[in-house]
């Protein structure tokens, strides 16, 4: 067992920086989050000005007047933590939520798949950075020890600088401890202030003269239990691995939904881009984790009631709240973040906001089992299996590209504006064809060759049909013994009699090939029921 604890020390601040595009906070702008008028966390720029956690609001503002101050929002924090947990689910099936600010991942079982600790750690780092978090990690054979180590400042890592103390105790390929003794020595030297126990207990330790963990672990269990309580004894035993420490791993829900609330209300569609990306990132992590693809997503925007004009065709009353829905269909189910994002942006372009958006929800509808792409076991791609989560969408075939572009066109131009063609089983010309939905045309892989070979035998030649069909036949004027449609028409061939459909609206027609006086060829018919003439097609 090898546990990794991913701790997000600035989580109360991160959640505001992520969603707040109205006033973008750069890394240099001081910012802090308050809890009951006390500084809970602050960023490095604020810390440089002298702001410290625990400081009162007035002191902090006196030290650093330009700092952005936020009130703590635990709802957002737990949502952000859950989003990150979904994304981490693709690294290991054992992801444990440890509120308020950390995740535990059991990575001992998946080192082989990701080819070593260093590579896996890089990917986990990147995931945390993508989600906009500053993070610290700790490694240990027990969950409690990992959590303890992640608190220690030494293990703080820079994005591209993977070097930390607790990692060096483990074999990079197997994840086993190199030497149990050295690791225990390291644990024993840890300061007691980092322990996950109450402040009173820590005060007691200090009063007794205990400074590091080793001081406590050297004492007999019975004496510790008597002085500091049974619970603390259990904690210490679980820390060292003497006692089992069962963890409750997250399970992905059967349906995905995510919601973000905005305090200020969003008034422009550009500002929606970031929260959208955040929700889609969460969706993408969820889909990867459950190995699903999605063919339809639904955005629901909660609009505030102020400034809403009464005539909003797509806004509706739902539980006393105005909402607006955007539904995106995809020709083929997929789980690509970029594709979700670009399609959502396209839809945003057409959106006109009449009132501020207070909340944004994302629902994934129509989930499909992902079609796993097979890779050659001995082929050149065998290496890349471990990273296929990232790269599975980069190896687009031409067909995938077509699907993406047709999706894009359909999103911008409207649902019904992109379609395929198909023949229908009918001898009545206007019923002999039909439109085909996109997913059927993009899936056809084998071109039909039988029709071409059938053509070469002239004995079985199909009847003449025009390449253009008029959806509504145009009447042709009959004058004397002549036919006129934008000029005189001359019949060349025919008649070909087509009758039928007596059970609905009976038709009886004689079809002719006609030539316009300028040379164009048309497909005409005479309705035998009322003797009128129509143009039904053009020989393009």
């Amino acid at each position: 067992m090898l546990w990794l604890c991913l701790r997000l020390p600035l989580l109360p601040l991160d959640v505001f920086v992520q969603n707040n595009l109205a006033e973008t906070i750069t890394a240099h702008q001081p910012a802090a989050t308050m809890e009951r008028h006390r500084v809970l966390v602050c960023n490095t720029s604020a810390a440089e000005m002298g702001v410290k956690p625990g400081m009162s609001l007035t002191t902090a503002q006196a030290l650093c007047s330009e700092a952005r101050i936020f009130e703590q929002d635990t709802g957002r924090e737990s949502h952000a933590l859950q989003t990150l947990a979904y994304s981490c689910y693709r690294f290991t099936p054992t992801v444990v939520l440890c509120p308020p600010d950390s995740l535990l991942l059991e990575i001992g079982g998946c080192l082989k798949l990701f080819r070593g600790l260093q590579r896996l750690l890089k990917m986990i780092n990147q995931t945390a950075i993508d989600h906009g978090h500053k993070h610290m990690v700790g490694f240990a054979p027990t969950p409690k020890a990992a959590a303890l180590l992640s608190c220690v400042e030494l293990t703080h890592i820079e994005p591209n600088h993977v070097e930390m103390n607790s990692l060096t105790f483990f074999n990079p390929t197997t994840g086993a401890l190199n030497s149990k003794e050295t690791f225990e020595q390291y644990l024993h030297a840890l300061p007691l202030a980092a322990l996950d126990c109450s402040k009173q207990l820590k005060d007691k330790f200090r009063a007794t003269g205990f400074n590091c963990l080793g001081d406590l672990l050297r004492l007999p269990n019975a004496a510790l239990g008597k002085r500091y309580g049974k619970d603390f004894l259990v904690y210490l035993k679980q820390l060292t691995g003497e006692q089992a420490d069962p963890q409750q791993a997250i399970e992905l829900p059967p349906q995905f939904e995510g919601t973000l609330e905005f305090n200020d209300g969003i008034i422009s569609t550009e500002m929606l881009a970031f929260p959208m990306k955040h929700l889609l990132l969460s969706l993408s992590g969820y889909l990867h984790g459950r190995q699903l693809h999605c063919s339809q997503i639904r955005w629901v925007m909660g609009l505030s009631s102020i400034g809403l004009s009464s005539s909003g065709s797509s806004s509706m009353e739902l539980g006393g709240k105005n909402t607006r829905e955007i539904i995106l269909h995809f020709a083929q189910p997929h789980n690509s973040l970029e594709h979700f994002l670009s399609m959502s942006r396209l839809k945003l372009d057409n959106l006109v906001l009449r009132s501020p958006i207070e909340s944004l929800s994302l629902y994934a509808e129509r989930l499909h089992q992902a079609e796993q792409k097979n890779v050659d076991l001995f082929g050149p791609q065998a290496d890349s299996i471990s990273s296929n989560n990232e790269h599975i969408n980069n190896g687009h075939s031409n067909n995938d590209n077509l699907v993406m572009i047709l999706d894009k066109l359909r999103t911008r131009l409207g649902e019904d504006s992109v379609y395929g063609l198909d023949v229908a089983d009918s001898h009545i010309p206007e019923q002999a064809w039909q439109t085909a939905p996109l997913n059927s045309i993009t899936r056809s892989k084998i071109p039909a060759v039988s029709t071409a070979s059938a053509l070469s035998s002239t004995s079985n030649k199909p009847p003449t049909r025009p390449l253009w069909l008029l959806q509504n036949p145009t009447p042709v004027r009959v004058s004397g013994q002549r036919l006129y449609w934008r000029g005189e028409l001359e019949l060349l061939q025919g008649p070909e009699r087509i009758e039928g459909n007596w059970w609905q609206a009976a038709i009886s027609r004689d079809y002719f090939v006609a030539r316009h006086h300028n040379g164009a060829l048309y497909w005409l018919y005479r309705d035998r029921l009322d003797n009128s003439w129509f143009i039904h097609g053009l020989f393009g």
Partner: protein, 272 residues
């Protein structure tokens, strides 16, 4: 020749009027006469082709049909952007294009139209993109954008435009006006990048269409007694499928044709 000069002349973007070399990297049109007049030996790939005509039903698709069939056989999609009428699936099937290879895109405005074509060309996802533009729907800048997008694609990019657009300058690599004659669609090459323009080619209609039958006597049929087109009708051969399922074409009779066949070496000599 000067060494520098010969190096300069070897550049592919320098065109010499005296060079009559037929390059062969064009897409086969299926009509030998047309292939001969297109200096790349066929439709230029990765470039915009403009077909200018006011009429529909004059065999404008028939001109492209052999190439489209080839595309469809290679499992490439044919995309019709805002076609003037509905492409009729049974007819496409009969000519050898499986209907599922055809994608139709309807647009509401010229801006959407140009955007859709550009997306399709940039993505290089279709064997052929055919688009019907109204007069004045695209300015020179927009056409140039399409031409640049087409360079990213390996397929055909065809714009159908009204005949009066011929008067406007266009960055398209190939511009051809189409006009109907009683038996053929007449192609007049207006502009050809890197080659001579001005050639006229007739692409005959399929002969099973233009072969006149005698309709029933009770029909209101106009039968001109001395129509110049009526008499030689049956003498003409039109493009048709041969036994292998490929395309063969037959040139028109010389009395109707303004350009010579290979079987007239004396005229060839005069021309070259």
């Amino acid at each position: 020749m000067n060494k520098n000069l010969s190096a300069l002349l070897a550049r592919p973007d320098i065109w010499q009027a005296s060079a009559s070399s037929q390059q062969t990297h064009g897409l086969d049109t299926g009509y030998p006469a047309l292939n001969k007049d297109l200096h790349q030996g066929g439709w230029p790939p990765g470039a915009v082709i403009e077909l200018l005509s006011d009429e529909f039903g004059i065999g404008e698709l028939n001109v492209l049909l052999p190439t489209l069939v080839q595309c469809a056989r290679q499992n490439q999609k044919l995309v019709f952007v805002s076609p003037p009428y509905m492409p009729y699936a049974p007819a496409f099937r009969d000519t050898g294009i499986p209907p599922e290879q055809v994608v139709v895109i309807q647009t509401r405005s010229a801006i959407e139209q140009l955007w859709a074509v550009e997306q399709l060309l940039r993505g290089d996802v279709a064997g052929a993109v055919l688009c019907w533009l109204a007069h004045g729907a695209a300015n020179h800048h927009q056409l140039r954008k399409l031409q640049l997008a087409a360079q990213a694609s390996r397929g055909m990019a065809v714009l159908f435009r009204p005949a009066r657009s011929a008067a406007e300058a266009s960055p398209a690599a190939l511009r051809i006006t189409l006009s109907p004659t009683p038996v053929a669609c007449r192609l007049h090459i207006l502009k050809q990048r890197g080659g001579w323009a001005g050639q006229v080619v007739d692409i005959a209609y399929p002969n099973d269409l233009t072969q006149a039958q005698i309709p029933g006597a009770d029909l209101p049929v106009h039968r001109p007694v001395s129509s110049p087109a009526q008499k030689p009708l049956n003498k003409f051969m039109a493009p048709d499928f041969d036994e292998q399922g490929g395309w063969t074409t037959y040139l028109l009779d010389e009395q109707f044709d303004v350009f010579p066949d290979k079987s007239h070496p004396e005229i060839d000599n005069i021309l070259h």
